[in-house]
């Protein structure tokens, strides 16, 4: 064996060893390895995709407009107090995304410009109309998306999911992947809830309060609002409390007339946890405010003794207890006939904070664990059968050369799996299909060479020069056909979502590795066979 061939044999052996080392974490053998190995050697291997291990793939859209609306509202309120401070007679009103200020006198205009330079101002029939500038709106939306991402990350951490993937996509979308989640619905609820906790005073003094029915059926809320909405005084609103009849399970909605002004929000929380009520043995969520929040809470309760304080989450009233006395210390409870899980989830979202803008689910793909397992089993079987079919065909058709091609094929599979493990690539079901197809394509290169060799033999060449000629002449054909496959794989990778990306990865790795195994792998075997003795016939 000359040195050139020997170096190739070493190269092949080294790649196989390397592939095995990288793939080891995916086998039970890894657990048997000594400590130093586990510590210093690759320990991740191939990652199973959501479609194989089961789990949740979610895409949320952050409704950034809403964040801009909230900012506008806040500015309107700030302007109102600014005018009061400066003793200017001016009224401020928010209309959608714009603030309308009357009158449009130069003094008023000056105050507005100084307080909020980001407002783009326009005169409109004696009124001053301000809108947050496009650039600033964009910044607000952008920040909102970042904050939403952070809050979602927090919630998932507290919910407890191993290896979640959370990232931003496009301008205002967030992708969340949760492998192995057992209760997908609960996870979706926790992540997607805005969780804006607000405290407002119930307006029992308005004559309307007495007229409101005690409860309406679920789904009839809008009807009620249409009936009474016109008579609401400015600064009041109607929200609903969900009431479940414990015996019949019937859900009704109780309208609650509230003063619109939010006195305190969940932003001032430091702690939220589940506690069990001693008297009714029911879970509730106990919250603790920070010092600022505790001060506000003390103020509110002090000023509104004997009135009712409504605790509202995402525009749903949870409870509205009567304030008996001033409460200091900053402790409060949220009750509302929760189940244990509901209470736990509420505590999680309160701790993690509210979303600065609501989110909308764009996509939700859930795969149960059993389907994933079935897919893996089916993929293994198909892979085995496919490989066997190809292996047998090659031996029948090309005899000894077929055996050599099969050797290259096995080498190809080993290296492909090793490369995927080295890259910690994600294996998906289409990815398995990619491997199996790569098996079929892997031998194609050898077929091209062998057919060339047959031609050379027919032309009367010696076995050795037939092999050389076959390799040389087939090379560019093989190269061209591989490149075209790589082009489509690249497009697939660029465009595809999770499972399809996995397919693109296995396909392109398979094709690239195939160049190595077909050109170097089989050539080496031929060289070894033809090195020692003068071969009379090529078994092809």
């Amino acid at each position: 064996m000359n040195t050139k061939v020997l170096s190739r044999v070493i190269l092949i052996a080294a790649t196989v060893v390397l592939a095995s080392v990288f793939f080891l974490p995916n086998t039970p053998v890894f657990q048997q390895m000594p400590e130093w190995w586990k510590k210093n050697m690759p320990d991740k291997g191939i990652v199973l995709g959501l479609d194989l291990q089961g789990g949740l793939h979610l895409v949320f859209e952050v409704e950034g407009e809403k964040a801009v609306e909230i900012a506008t509202e806040r500015m309107a309120a700030a302007l109102g107090s600014e005018f009061e401070k400066k003793k200017l007679q001016a009224s401020v009103k928010r209309e959608g995304l714009s603030i309308v200020i009357t009158p449009a006198t130069p003094e008023v205009r000056k105050v507005v410009e100084e307080t909020f330079p980001v407002l783009a101002l326009a005169d409109n029939k004696g009124a001053l109309q301000g809108r947050i500038s496009d650039k600033e709106s964009q910044r607000i939306k952008d920040t909102a998306t970042d904050q939403v991402l952070e809050v979602i990350r927090n919630r998932i951490d507290q919910f407890g999911v191993a290896e979640p993937v959370i990232h931003r996509q496009a301008d205002n979308e967030i992708v969340v992947q949760l492998p192995g989640v057992k209760d997908p619905k609960r996870a979706v609820d926790i992540i997607g809830k805005t969780a804006l906790l607000e405290f407002k005073i119930v307006d029992d003094e308005s004559p309307l309060a007495a007229e409101l029915p005690a409860a309406v059926l679920q789904g009839e809320e809008q009807k009620l609002l249409d009936k009474f909405g016109g008579r609401l005084i400015e600064g009041d609103q109607v929200l609903f409390q969900r009431i479940v009849n414990k015996e019949t399970g019937v859900v009704t909605k109780r309208p609650v007339l509230l003063k619109k002004e939010t006195l305190l929000t969940g932003a001032e929380l430091t702690e939220a946890r589940v506690a069990i009520d001693q008297r009714f043995n029911e879970p509730h969520v106990s919250i603790v405010f920070n010092s600022h929040g505790a001060k506000i809470f003390e103020d509110i309760t002090g000023k509104n003794v004997k009135k009712r304080l409504a605790i509202i989450l995402d525009d749903n009233v949870y409870s509205a207890p009567v304030i008996q006395e001033k409460i200091s210390g900053g402790n409060a409870q949220i009750t509302g006939s929760f189940s244990m899980d509901e209470a736990k989830d509420l505590a999680i979202v309160l701790r993690a904070g509210s979303l600065p803008a609501p989110v909308k689910t764009l996509q939700n793909v859930t795969v149960g664990p059993s389907l994933g397992r079935d897919s893996i089993e089916a993929g293994k079987l198909a892979g085995l059968v496919g490989t066997l079919l190809v292996v047998i065909f090659m031996i029948v058709y090309y005899r000894l050369s077929g055996v050599i091609a099969d050797f290259a094929l096995v080498l190809n599979i080993v290296l492909l799996i090793g490369a995927m493990a080295a890259l910690n690539a994600t294996l998906t079901l289409p990815g398995i299909a990619g491997i199996i197809l790569a098996v079929g394509m892997a031998v194609d290169s050898n077929v091209l060479m062998f057919e060339r060799m047959r031609e050379e033999v027919r032309a009367g060449k010696t076995p050795r020069s037939a092999v050389e000629g076959g390799y040389k002449k087939a090379f560019w054909t093989i190269f061209d056909s591989h490149v075209t496959t790589l082009i489509t794989a690249a497009v697939l990778f660029q465009f595809g979502t999770g499972p399809i990306k996995g397919f693109a990865v296995t396909l392109s790795l398979g094709v690239a590795i195939n160049l190595f195994t077909a050109l170097i792998g089989t050539k080496t075997v031929f060289d070894i066979l033809h090195a020692n003795k003068d071969v009379k016939r090529l078994s092809i």
Partner: protein
């Protein structure tokens, strides 16, 4: 072993038949593309938007019973499909909902109540909002286009431009033909099929490149023969490798089709048809198109 010894078939002489056959197939494929664009085809939930829920029971459940139960429960406009061997039922609702998740909950609740004795378990659910659906559909068309442009550019770079055109038309033909088959059979057109189509686009070129390579080589070698004869000779010379390379991929796709499981079934089916059509097109479409584009200075150096 050899499949065919020294074949000498007159492929070029039959090209008119091939053009008619392929033209019809491609037209059908184009029709399918328009149908897809207008939402008339059997689009998967990923393209059309909507909800798909797959439920597994412990025993077989007649599809009719599932339909009745769902209708009684108030679900409208849904499709049912069953996998009797696995006791599974797939329910698809192609209607959009403002807030995702409602249909899934409704379906699982109705079935859990109606078939409590057969312990329905949710195998998988897919909910796609309208925005994602139409975006995926648009992206899919671009993906196919990008792939084909990439291929055209590469082949034109390696061969003469008209070979690039020939290869591209053959590739388009293959993709359209598989699409046509799926469309006619009423099979679902989804993302998985799209990845199969792109794979077919890449793979069908392998055979075309093999033929083109030989055509180029022979054009220089047999200077006195008419171009048609050289092309015909080249196709015959590489015929056995064209068939054998396709056969190996066909075999692995077959294993995938038979044993790869439900999720990958249609993908494997598309590959099976794609390999056959790709082989056919590399013989009957790619080279004839090159000749059709003109024989002048075809022998000139690139």
């Amino acid at each position: 072993m050899e499949l065919i010894k020294n074949p000498n078939l007159d492929f070029m002489g039959k090209r008119m038949y091939a053009f008619i056959f392929s033209g019809a197939l491609s037209l059908l494929g184009l029709f399918a593309v328009f149908a897809i664009a207008n939402g008339k085809a059997n689009l998967g939930v990923d393209f059309a938007g909507g909800t798909a829920v797959q439920i597994k029971f412990t025993q077989g459940v007649p599809l009719h019973d599932v339909r009745l139960a769902l209708e009684k429960g108030g679900l409208k406009d849904f499709d049912l499909q069953d996998l009797p061997s696995e006791n599974k039922v797939l329910i698809r609702v192609k209607k959009q909902e403002e807030k995702l998740g409602g249909f899934t909950e409704m379906i699982t609740q109705i079935l859990a109540q109606s078939f409590a004795d057969k312990k329905p378990v949710v195998d998988s659910t897919t909910e796609i909002g309208p925005k994602v659906g139409s975006r995926l559909k648009e992206d899919a068309l671009w993906a196919v286009l990008y792939a084909i442009i990439g291929i055209l550019a590469y082949i034109a770079f390696r061969f003469k431009f008209r070979f690039g055109v020939g290869a591209t038309i053959a590739t388009f033909h293959d993709v359209l033909a598989v699409l046509a088959v799926f469309f006619v059979m009423g099979k679902e057109i989804n993302l998985i099929l799209l990845s199969a189509l792109l794979t077919i686009a890449g793979y069908s070129l392998t055979d075309t490149v093999v033929v083109f390579d030989r055509v180029r080589e022979n054009l220089k070698k047999y200077l006195r023969e008419p171009v048609e004869a050289v092309v015909n000779r080249s196709i015959n010379e590489v015929l056995s490798r064209t068939i054998v390379t396709s056969l190996t991929v066909f075999l692995s796709a077959l294993a995938l089709f038979l044993f790869g499981g439900e999720v990958i079934h249609d993908f494997a089916f598309a590959m099976l048809i794609g390999v056959i059509i790709g082989t056919y097109s590399s013989v009957f479409v790619a080279s004839p198109v090159v000749i059709l584009l003109g024989k002048k200075d075809i022998r000139a150096k690139k």
